[in-house]
Symmetry: C2
Subunit: 576 residues, 2 copies
């Protein structure tokens, strides 16, 4: 029987790969299904609370609880996960009641409900966290089906002998009355109704609005992926309508930075949907340059309308390929020219463009928040780039993910990012840079293995990131991909390069466990910042000593994230 199942899986996987041009809301079969033996004990549908730390396997029979006690500040978002067992399959739906505390109510409408969906992933075999650029289909990665996507759909049809995790996110109103609220989660499987009680204690403290969070969140957005995935015209009303919930959720996570591509393919074409240039560069027949900012303006204005207003990062004048494009009206086509930084041709192309761009940004009132962004470029390229930037305008801000440090870096870069576990600025350098009003973030990307936000990463690793930023004294966190969705993003998070999930921390038309847990860590960062400002003596010492555990050296082997995050959040609550 199991053998037959596996054969069927292979057939199905193959046919999916061949047919999946348009995304559809199916799931790929699990290449490593759990044993079905335990299901012989499960005869009727049932429900229980699970843990948000756990990615439930589709066929497991997990231990669950009938009670759940949540805690949060006013204005905080709190997550919970329940599990429905469907021994005979069936159509599942669920709802959550209003939460009540005496006369006070948190309305059901403040609670987001999601079905947890299954996504194909792989794994990171190199236990030492080194990058492996091998093809994910080779032996160096193995495919696994993981619970990660959060889909806001109304119902879900479950196959027999499967469980279905349900995810809820309670948005505690900023003006909620403190106290213990009670409510009920009700699920039905083919009409069979089951209920689970729920309690939420709302504390007296209030978390600021996400727009006021100090955490400098910089997840790069890819509008091109949205247009392609939903097959809508770029920058059309449909496109913006589809992007709005996606980008509003990002704004609500405290995102500060709008990602803008001012040149074609700043990072080659490393994503399924390469970033095109949001600025048109036109060389007229008589050799004159003109620039078209219509796309750039629409994008920035849209993102600001979603609530992301603090910073605009413009990638880049140092693309990896060093190839620069423009539309040549004499040839009626786009020309790609390789220009060496420091050369006359590099300056001739960039200086008029940056000068014109600075003037345009000033006319829009955006110049003071706009950075020219440069990603992981070596010193010999950065130097001539700085030169052109300042030649065009002495007041440009610069952002950079750096992989070396010299004094000129912090002199010139407003916003610096470096890799987790390779801190290039520490101690006095770090505090001096921040004292000038600058930003410092750390980033994870295809490395390290732990902590990270791959689809196979432990959910608590996402939460760890906010704690790590707080522990190291960073402004926040940078990730190169909020939504550079892979081809069949609803089914499969694997990609031709890098471990699964690296390209996107969220999904089309929904969210992810990883993203919800990341926001928890950011909320914790805000709480820590508030408490650091208030606590004194032993209490402060206890907090700082707990934070010291959030360093690369303490967490190196990839285990214990759940416990560490859990004990730290418990401590945090006790220190309030």
């Amino acid at each position: 029987m199991k053998r037959n199942f596996l054969i069927a899986s292979v057939v199905l996987l193959t046919s999916m790969a061949l047919s999946a041009s348009a995304p559809a809301d199916f799931e790929l079969p699990d290449p490593h299904p759990a044993s079905l033996e335990a299901w012989s004990q499960v005869t009727a549908p049932s429900i229980g609370w699970g843990s948000t730390d756990h990615r439930y396997k589709l066929n497991e029979v997990p231990a669950t609880s009938k009670t759940l006690n949540l805690y949060g500040w006013r204005g905080e978002r709190v997550n919970a996960q329940a599990v429905v067992m469907a021994p005979k399959g069936g159509t599942i739906s669920f709802s959550v009641s209003d939460l009540r505390c005496g006369k006070a109510t948190i309305a059901a409408s403040a609670i987001n409900r999601y079905f947890v969906r299954y996504i194909m992933s792989d794994s990171f075999r190199n236990i030492h966290g080194k990058e492996d650029h091998g093809n994910h289909m080779t032996a160096s990665f193995d495919s696994v089906l993981v619970a990660d996507r959060l889909s806001p759909q109304a119902t879900l049809k479950a196959a027999p002998q499967t469980l279905r995790p349900l995810w809820i996110e309670i948005n505690i109103p900023a003006d909620a009355t403190p106290g213990k609220y009670r409510g009920t989660l009700t699920a039905t499987v083919d009409g069979t109704e089951m209920t689970l009680p729920l309690s939420l204690t709302v504390g007296k403290r209030q978390l600021p609005k996400p727009a006021d969070w100090k955490f400098h969140l910089d997840l790069w957005q890819n509008p091109y992926a949205v247009a392609r995935f939903f097959d809508v015209p770029l920058w059309s009303k449909e496109h913006f309508d589809l992007m709005r919930p996606l980008m509003e959720e990002l704004a609500n996570a405290g995102q500060k930075v709008i990602t803008a591509s001012i040149i074609q393919h700043p990072w080659n074409s490393q994503t399924e949907d390469p970033f095109e240039s949001m600025i048109g560069k036109h060389k007229s027949i008589d050799g004159k340059w003109s620039y078209d900012y219509r796309v750039f303006d629409r994008w920035i204005e849209f993102m600001m309308s979603c609530g992301i207003t603090k910073q605009i990062d413009c990638y880049t004048i140092l693309p990896w390929h060093l190839t620069f494009e423009y539309f040549d009206e004499a040839r009626n086509c786009t020309i790609q020219k390789r220009l060496e930084p420091g050369s006359k041709e590099y300056e001739e192309y960039l200086l008029p463009m940056l000068t014109d761009f600075a003037a345009h940004l000033k006319s829009k009132g955006w110049f003071d928040i706009t950075c020219i962004a440069m990603d992981e470029r070596p010193k010999n390229l950065l130097e001539p780039a700085y030169e052109i930037i300042y030649k065009s305008d002495n007041h440009w801000l610069i952002e950079g993910a750096i992989n070396y440090y010299g004094p000129e870096v912090s002199e010139r870069m407003y916003d610096i990012s470096f890799l987790y576990n390779q801190p290039l600025l520490e101690g006095e350098q770090l505090s001096n840079h921040l004292a000038k009003g600058n930003k410092i973030t750390f980033y994870t990307c295809c490395v390290p293995e732990f902590p990270n936000t791959f689809t196979f990463s432990a959910p608590s690793e996402s939460t760890f990131l906010g704690w790590h930023a707080a522990a190291a004294g960073y402004s926040g966190y940078l990730r190169w991909a909020y939504n550079s969705w892979v081809k069949n993003a609803w089914q499969d998070s694997r990609f031709r390069t890098w471990a699964a999930g690296d390209c996107a921390i969220t999904y089309p038309g929904g969210s992810s466990i990883r993203f919800k847990r990341l926001v928890e860590g950011i909320q914790d960062y805000e709480k820590i910042a508030i408490l650091r400002g208030e606590l004194k003596g032993k209490k402060l010492e206890r907090l700082e000593s707990q934070l010291e555990k959030f360093t690369p050296t303490v967490i190196a082997e990839g285990f214990g994230f759940d416990q560490l995050v859990d004990e730290s959040r418990t401590l945090l609550r006790s220190l309030e």
Copy 2:
């Protein structure tokens, strides 16, 4: 000694290939130099008349003549070739005196003077004339240095033991007094002066102006090659200034057709400089199409100012690659889309473009002379193309080089071309098509081996082409490349595909023996047309019977072109 020379040649050839980014006025060494033994008899510079049928080898010691008797109609152009022997080398210059006949004079300024320059060529080994797309560097082609380029330079430095051919072209004024003119060619080698007498008999008949020639000459022009070769901006004043003498010489050969590329790379990128689109196609952010005709208009207006005014051929809506480009303002880059003729997408792209283009052409007064041109496409592609063309405007003219024939071809195509020795229309079909005011041309390209206009072809083969058109009753001749110059066009006519010289029948800043001899054949075509209208009885029979020799079956082996053309021109004169 000879061995050393060859080794030096190889070294030089290699270094040329490596360094020749900018063209320079040198010549490559002859890989097969003639024996220098005969030079022991040549001790002083000398001069003699040669034959325009002959490509003199740089080191040969040829038989020459001290006398030359030319003949031409008023308004005709007449060529002659002299040879200077330079046993010790030296700087050569030459001039031609006014030609006098009693009180009448043909001014020296009516005589174009050129040094004949040496060009690397290859050969067409496949004696049966079949196409060989092999790399010219392989054994299937062998390199030879040939005399072909005509350079109007004032002086030339000759190496010791070389000859230098001199070429003159006498433009007999249309109003010249008939009679026998005499003059002198004077050459100096390092100051040593030599003279050659010259006589020209001007007949009573007058050739019409080239603009009025009936011959339908269609040599495709490549403006992109000119900009690249001389490294000037496309469509700049410098570019047009460099193109003017080139295109005026073409107009003076009776050219009727302006070649326009309305799509990117209509023939893939088969030439050193691919044809870009002269029409910009822009898709705005809101999905609307607009078209930019500035380049197209500049090109057409320029070509008309050069004297080519009868027809505009627009390549194409059936490019070989079936890939169609446009500038996408949403992505700020050129998009290439493969569109299948007959598909909805093909129509969606082309119909608005052709409709707009027709309106633009009408506003310029050009619609009635503009053809949509389609080159060697099969019936299953032509049918959907016709459909879109006529859907956009029922009165479009169509031009096509065809390789099949059906009744719908002559119904739809105004201007039809087919390959030499594969006449698809003959007899009644041919005369019916022409009777409606249509055009029929034949073409040569990479085939046949004979007659053709490769750099190694016998010069008389070029003249043969006009005679063949007259014999077969065609409107004229089509060649796919007037000036699609190869990389180092001043030195080397070889190309990665096709036999040498196929890409261009002329040279930058000058002309060629092939081109001058082609014009002779066109002039003969005009003379034949005039005489056919006048001659009767035996004389007409003699002419027609001579013309019957200009068929593929009579001239199949590649020999006898010189004699055939010569005897035919003598006959023509006798029939006047």
